[in-house]
Symmetry: C2
Subunit: 456 residues, 2 copies
């Protein structure tokens, strides 16, 4: 297979986007026949652009030895920033509710698949490292973020600096999980430590947010902060995780045993998805990210649970195979949409770029402290540190909460800080795939060299 | 496999719904961590209920010899009408935007699959019958609707009666397509005539709406009606259908030839879906239902088009197999949601029930005129007439447009008429599966008896 010519490959998405843009804007006079229903047309147009963009971007980057996910992200960046060359029609993609929902379901699938490919025992075996990686990865960026904010905005209230630090804490595991999957390294020691740490990290991030936001709200009211609320929030999410692993396994076994008695087609897919969505829902209810629940659902769902179901229905293939087409549809929607949401214009705002650059550096370097938490000898510490870099929605959510909090009459997160957080999220997302690929390949190369005399 | 006990099977969805309802309402204090993002939790809870309900309902009805789709519809009716027994928490399912979008994508998949299983040549062979079936099925209910409206509301403006007639015209092919698929009769003569007629019917419905709404708008302004707009609307959609069949085939071949050069996983699924969504989008742009586009996309996409792609990527399985898991996820969402939207309370409105009953009868009987349009000898005319009964979204869309139109100071479609249309849509949807199953089984039984001496 010869690699596609770069220039043409780059041209195609631009031309496509231009055509789509003209279609989207031309004749706003849509037939009256659609009034009253959900307007599916922008969603359909968006899906076509996203799927085509994802595959073109993926092909381009795979042909230069990079993971497909980077191509999908950059295809999204192109689609989302055509406004810079005067094409504004696609900007609605960034806020389209339908695409956003499909993307969220897509990332649930990804983590469910990753969970299915993971093993509780093996995850537990690196549990101490995962915990330490998460802890160091929360504390270091938070402290660094505090000082960066203090340096740039010395006049702000000290609590606002802590809030900026808090936006740097939570790792967004989607990108790393996808890179690991693209490189088939999900089941490596590094992969397991990162995935475990990301789950714990999410719990810690939740606690950090509760503490910082609670202290700020109490300070603004002049009241004392109630540590008991924080205990409750932390306890709830730990309870969920324990429950998911212990009760979840039993529940999965029971569910599929009962489901084996159902009739009709597609039972395995429907029941497995209901299980995944159910646990994801419960995770969301205790305040964790739903993807943590989807991962837990995959983790506890074991092939033996649905063996009986499969034998009765002769659906024959295993769940992993059945989920592939759904993932092929929905997972790219998530990554392309993440790219679309990278707002290049935010990089150019005066007074933002300096702070954003330092914040991004601190975000990336701060997570390198994670490598100190790895106790396994055969594990590459740098790979773990790099895998923890991406910040995602959680950082943005923190920032948006901060922009609603007031202290001493000033907003905790103002427009400039918010833009800087957006830039930080974008950059940490975009730099991780190439860095992680570079590192994992270097390990492989080293291993290959070491083994050369013996085996190859 | 022993059939599930009926009483228990009925109990489970109710208990599940009650638990879910309490979860949905309890502690509205969701963690602040979610502010700013799409709230996925109601969608996830809804999907769990829908998937579990679909499979329980499907099992129940398959075990009594009815198609799964009827069980899915009735599971939805139960979920959507728990308000009648005091549980109101699930009523938000009826209007949830996310579920609605997933359902719309689900019905696109269904029609795409049906299209993939159909053959243009064979469709064309029964084209004359399809056209006559569509024509008779539009005219008869419309005329009958006019007289029913005149009978119940003699004081209304004559044009409002024509509008009521118009709401009875368009067949909603989703239900029939699903029943045909459940019974593996998509490729029968009856199946082909119904599918073809439903496509043509959609074009005619569009023209009828444009004419009636145009005349009403013109009459209200005191201006003359411009027939040229109607010509343009009809011409556009005919052009689309011709284009889809002729250009679509060429486009499909080219697209998959180019796609064979892409790299990465899931290319076939992604490209096929982009093709389906693209044609569905274009159908929507000319004012047709997007499902007509999805059906056309499936119709022109031929296995030979993606043979090269499959050989290069060793994805091995054919598209039909790959789409199955996606359909298993999304198609039930459509049918359960249709059931959820059946508002039993609408049946009990004073002054509605009489009109609604007669309107439903006229809607069902009016389509029986379709059987006169069938010229094939070996085709069961009653099955065609029954298959054309369901009215769906299009009827509701017509009604909602009517409620925005005014003539001589009165609303063309008032609240009572609107409710009656809702009841008509619900009932025609619910009666079709059992009637069609009964008829198709009767044909099979007759054929078996006739063949008995020879073969069995």
């Amino acid at each position: 297979m010869r690699p596609p010519r770069l220039s043409r490959a780059l041209l195609v998405p631009v031309v496509l986007a231009t055509v789509a843009a003209s279609l989207l804007t031309s004749g706003a006079a849509r037939a009256a026949g659609e009034a009253g229903a959900v307007d599916m047309l922008p969603i359909l147009a968006g899906l076509v652009l996203i799927l085509v963009g994802a595959k073109l971007g993926g092909t381009l980057f795979e042909s230069i030895g990079q993971p497909a996910v980077l191509g999908e992200l950059l295809a999204g960046v192109v689609l989302g920033n055509l406004g810079l060359v005067g094409i504004h029609a696609l900007e609605s993609l960034r806020t389209d509710l339908g695409l956003s929902i499909l993307a969220q379901i897509g990332v649930l699938f990804l983590l469910f698949q990753v969970g299915l490919g993971s093993d509780v025992q093996k995850m537990m075996a690196v549990g101490v490292s995962s915990f330490m990686v998460a802890l160091l990865g929360v504390i270091t960026p938070m402290v660094l973020g505090y000082f960066v904010s203090l340096w740039f905005f010395p006049a702000h209230h000290p609590l606002t600096h802590w809030f900026v630090g808090a936006t740097l804490t939570a790792t967004s595991v989607g990108i790393t999980a996808r890179v690991l999957a693209d490189l088939r390294r999900t089941d490596s020691t590094e992969g397991r430590i990162i995935l475990g740490a990301a789950v714990i990290d999410d719990v810690m991030g939740l606690i950090v947010l509760a503490v910082v936001a609670g202290i700020i709200a109490a300070a603004d009211r002049g009241a004392a902060f109630q540590p008991v609320t924080v205990l409750w929030i932390g306890g709830k999410s730990l309870l969920f995780l324990l429950g998911a692993v212990i009760v979840g396994r039993w529940l999965s076994e029971r569910t599929f045993k009962l489901a084996a008695r159902l009739r009709g087609e597609g039972i395995l897919v429907a029941v497995a998805l209901a299980f995944c969505f159910g646990i994801a829902y419960l995770a969301g209810r205790v305040g964790l990210a739903p993807i943590v629940g989807a991962f837990a659902a995959g983790l506890v769902l074991d092939e033996v649970h649905y063996r009986e179901l499969n034998e009765r229905h002769h659906e024959g293939r295993d769940l992993h195979e059945l989920l592939k087409p759904i993932a092929a549809f929905l997972v790219p929607v998530f990554f392309v949409l993440m790219g679309i949401r990278v707002d290049l214009a935010a990089f150019a705002q005066p007074g933002v770029l300096g702070f954003a650059t330092v914040l991004t550096l601190v975000a990336a370097l701060g997570k390198q402290a994670c490598s100190l938490g790895v106790f396994e000898k055969e594990c590459d510490r740098l790979a773990v540190g790099l895998g923890m870099i991406p910040r995602g929605e959680v950082g943005l959510i923190f920032a948006s909460i901060g922009s609603t909090l007031m202290i001493a009459g000033e907003r905790v997160v103002d427009a400039a800080v918010f833009s800087a957080v957006v830039v930080m999220v974008s950059l940490t997302t975009l730099v991780t795939p190439p860095l992680l690929v570079w590192r994992l390949r270097a390990i492989d190369a080293r291993a290959a060299t070491r083994e050369k005399p013996g085996r190859r």
